[in-house]
């Protein structure tokens, strides 16, 4: 249902919620194409090799485009993955929290505690230190 026509919740299936999102996805995908298309019609097209060279403040590019590997970058991403999944578990937990007893809190504390051990480990090992 659309912006101004939204019905009161309930009575419709969950799937009908996503009609709007579906239309939105289509429009959102079309938007950049339309914008770039208009620009394509309007703009000048005069390429030359100097223009098309890699921008490096006027200097010639030397060697391959390659960034030295650092384990640091990867470990940050790794810690992120772990915490992202933790959030995935906690969202349903938070939704059901008021129907649950105190033990639900205890379980979540245990869950988080185990993960915090991981964070502390990574921290102590210096994995979070930028080198």
């Amino acid at each position: 249902m659309a912006l101004a026509l939204q019905p009161v919740k309930g009575g419709v299936t969950l799937l009908s919620d996503y009609n709007f999102i579906g239309v939105f996805v289509v429009v959102a995908i079309l938007f950049p194409f339309v914008a770039l298309g208009i620009a394509w019609l309007l703009r000048p097209k005069k390429p030359n090799p100097v223009k098309a060279s890699t921008y490096e403040c006027g200097l010639e590019t030397i060697g391959e485009t390659w960034v030295r590997f650092r384990a640091q970058d990867y470990i940050y991403a790794l810690v992120f993955v772990v915490f992202d999944i933790e959030a995935v578990f906690l969202f349903p937990w938070a939704m059901a929290y008021d129907q649950l007893g105190l033990w639900a809190l205890a379980e979540a504390v245990l869950f988080l505690g185990i993960l915090i051990v991981g964070l502390v480990y990574a921290w102590r090992k210096g994995a979070l230190r930028w080198q």
């Binding site: 590997f69 384990a71 990867y74 790794l78 993955v81 772990v82 992202d84 999944i85 995935v88 578990f89």
Partner: protein, 105 residues
């Protein structure tokens, strides 16, 4: 609810087989991992399809919980697998699984 269950199962089977092909035919460890991720995805489609078409009537949630656990395992697998790829790459300057053969008899 008009799409029959078997359609989902066929799509999942196709995803699984494509992933399997990727795992079998690639040399690059990262590409193999991507194939594994595809296979795990296929499993999830199956789990959720079965949940929707059978389990939801019984009011239980095993399908959804299984799917979440599978996603967790997939993430853990990707994390450790890619860490291994990085370690191998650092030591041997390659991620080609055929060149990593020191453990072979």
């Amino acid at each position: 609810m008009q799409v029959p269950l078997s359609w989902y199962l066929i799509v999942a089977a196709a995803l699984f087989c494509i992933g399997l092909y990727g795992v079998l035919s690639r040399r690059n460890a990262i590409a193999i991992l991507m194939g594994v991720e595809l296979m795990l995805n296929a499993v999830n489609v199956n789990l959720l399809a079965f949940w929707r078409y059978g389990e939801v009537a019984r009011g239980t949630l095993a399908g959804q919980v299984f799917a979440i656990i599978v996603i967790t395992v997939a993430a853990a697998e990707a994390a450790v697998g890619l860490a291994l790829v990085i370690a191998v790459y650092r030591a041997r300057r390659t991620v080609d699984v055929e060149e990593v053969e020191l453990m072979k008899l």
